[in-house]
């Protein structure tokens, strides 16, 4: 413990204390944090800034941290909500020191709304409103048009070809886990593939990298076989766990492809660098391949190696396409409307920014508007 008289007895020789010291409750947090800020000290090489805290303004200060001189901020995360605290900063260098005035009192508290995310809340509310509006319209009977998705239309062709060749079908979710939206979006497609496989009595193989996805896949395929009236054809040994190791999974799937030589392969899920290894092996055995992933870095590989690739949000639209109920289609229409709104907003921002840059000082107002909108749309973490 170090009391005030020790602090004030410290010699002030040639050092400048940090200026504009402020201590405030940390914004948008769960409480228990106070942020201390001070001006940059540029004339104190080899110095450190020691931070002292007390619950009284003139006694009981204890050192809580020693920061490098380059820092201008410290977050004290060892405070109790509702208690008053005082802070004092001391610059130290080679036995010399300079003391800044005490700041405080300051109390920490928890907030009920993260104001740094207000832009997210507003945009989220607008997006939800657009979706709900189109769902409501669809419920009232407005007809919605959905364009054909080549990748989804090709499912029947792929299954037919596998049937003609008397070869099995392989379906992979990649390394996706059940919390990945793309895996949930791929489950209805697995159900469709499984129903057709049951109808045509073709073997369906689903190697998995995640045990929860494996369980979901087993349930989905089992139900599809039941719906088709062929529960006798369902074999849980065809839907197994391989490994969650990335290249172990690729090696396992490659082995299955080379041994079983499937006639059709579906790559629908989450893929990383193993995508091309598996898709090229599938191509080498002459399988018709259909892919869809939300991982944009893997899309070029699938486009190069597969016969059909669902790009972007097409895989999310699959369930609406397979089950074209008005309410499902309403969400697709809402999505299209929001895309239009985004295109207009992006174009307006580009025009504002470009006009501001071209007109120089005359366009300062335009640049300011552009920067303000861009900053507002960038939420705090």
């Amino acid at each position: 413990m170090m009391t005030l008289w020790i602090l004030t007895a410290l010699t002030v020789v040639g050092l400048t204390p940090p200026g504009s010291v402020t201590a405030r409750d940390a914004p948008n947090d769960q409480g228990g944090q106070i942020v201390i800020r001070w001006d940059d000290i540029d004339d104190a090489a080899n110095s450190t800034i020691a931070l002292f805290r007390s619950t009284c303004p003139d006694t009981g200060f204890i050192e809580i941290a020693a920061e490098p001189v380059s820092s201008t901020e410290y977050t004290d995360a060892e405070v109790a909500d509702g208690c008053s605290y005082y802070y004092r900063l001391v610059v130290r260098s080679d036995g010399d020191s300079a003391v800044a005035p005490v700041v405080g009192p300051v109390r920490s508290s928890a907030q009920w709304f993260n104001s740094g995310r207000s832009s997210v809340l507003i945009v989220f509310a607008l997006i939800c409103a657009a979706f709900l509006f189109y769902i409501f319209r669809a419920r009232r009977g407005t007809k919605m048009f959905v364009r054909r998705i080549a990748g989804l239309d090709a499912i029947d062709d792929a299954l037919g070809r596998a049937t003609e060749m008397g070869k099995p079908i392989l379906f992979s979710f990649g390394l996706g886990v059940i919390t990945d939206l793309v895996v949930i979006a791929a489950l209805p497609l697995l159900r469709k593939v499984a129903r057709k496989a049951a109808d045509y009595a073709i073997r369906l193989i689903v190697p998995n990298a995640d045990p929860i996805v494996m369980t979901a896949a087993q349930e989905t395929v089992k139900e599809a076989y039941l719906e088709s009236g062929r529960p006798d054809l369902y074999n849980p040994d065809n839907i197994t766990f391989l490994t969650s190791d990335q290249f172990g999974y690729a090696a396992g799937v490659d082995g299955i492809i080379l041994r079983e030589k499937p006639g059709a392969i579906f790559w629908l899920g989450y893929f990383y660098a193993e995508s091309l290894v598996m898709a090229e092996t599938g191509h080498s055995v002459g399988a018709i391949q259909l892919a869809g992933t939300t991982e944009t870095t893997q899309l070029p590989f699938f486009v190069a190696a597969c016969d059909y690739t669902m790009i972007g949000e097409e895989i999310f639209a699959a369930s609406c396409y397979l089950k074209p109920e008005p309410v499902m289609l309403g969400t697709l229409k809402g999505e299209d409307f929001l895309k239009l709104v985004l295109v207009i907003c992006i174009t307006a921002l580009v025009v504002l920014g470009t006009a501001g840059a071209i007109t120089g000082n005359g366009g300062a107002a335009l640049t300011r508007i552009h920067q303000a909108v861009s900053t507002w749309l960038t939420p705090a973490s």
Partner: protein, 234 residues
């Protein structure tokens, strides 16, 4: 009825809580996300028992039935339980399977890592075969793709710079007023490559990204509101 409505109610409540947690830092909402993730990690950890059961049962059955390729299944079962045994032994002997002198660590360093690296290395060959097919000049789009790929490759290798400097020298011979050093320093192949990667490629990826984000939000809303039920059993 309960079999279908109870999961929907759980999904709706959990989603509401997580949305609230994103905007409300105050306890108990502030740490809900990390708490839920912890729960998920615990549940997911236990489900690996299901995975091991599935894998082991499948291959033990293949061995007992002498299915085609059963020796590979036997190898897998031996490797599975051998790795497990070595891990447990290392835990007792060295307090951690990942201790430097532990046999499990030896297995990991000298067998698993090289096997992973080998599989990763095959990617280079697959890229070549896929690129060969993708870059064949079949139509206008494929030709554009081929041209863009050549420009990017040319801008990425030192040869691109050398060729450009040779072009600058040749131009200086034809038009003496051109400064070959200044023209060579422009590094046009690298500039073209950067433009293609930063403008052309990024614009396409962002376009797909915006579509994916909106598609993801629409899908999430369908799940939360119970419109999308295809993931549930009927």
């Amino acid at each position: 009825m309960l079999k279908r409505n109870l999961p929907l109610a759980i999904v709706f409540t959990t989603a509401l809580l997580l949305v609230a947690a994103f905007f409300i830092p105050h306890r108990p909402f502030g740490d809900l996300e990390s708490r839920f993730l912890n729960w998920y990690a615990i549940v997911a950890g236990f489900t690996y028992l299901l995975g091991i059961d599935s894998l082991a049962r499948h291959h033990i059955l293949r061995v007992t039935r002498r299915a085609p390729g059963w020796p590979f299944s036997l190898l897998l079962v031996l490797a599975l339980f051998g790795t497990l045994g070595l891990g447990v032994y290392s835990w007792f002997k060295f307090q951690s399977p990942f201790a430097l002198r532990a046999p499990f660590m030896w297995l990991y360093t000298y067998m698993i890592i090289p096997l992973q690296a080998t599989m990763f290395a095959t990617l280079a060959f697959f890229i070549v075969s896929a690129a060969y097919r993708a870059f064949r000049v079949r139509n206008f789009s494929a030709t554009l793709l081929l041209l863009a790929a050549c420009l990017v490759m040319f801008g990425n290798v030192p040869l691109g710079g050398e060729v450009w400097r040779a072009v600058a020298s040749a131009m200086h011979k034809v038009i003496p007023s051109i400064d070959p050093a200044a023209l060579g320093a422009l590094e046009i192949p690298a500039v073209v490559k950067d433009w293609l990667m930063k403008v052309g490629q990024t614009a396409a990826v962002r376009g797909i990204g915006i579509g994916l984000s909106l598609g993801g939000i629409a899908m999430s809303l369908r799940i939360v509101l119970g419109i999308e039920r295809t993931y549930l059993s009927s």
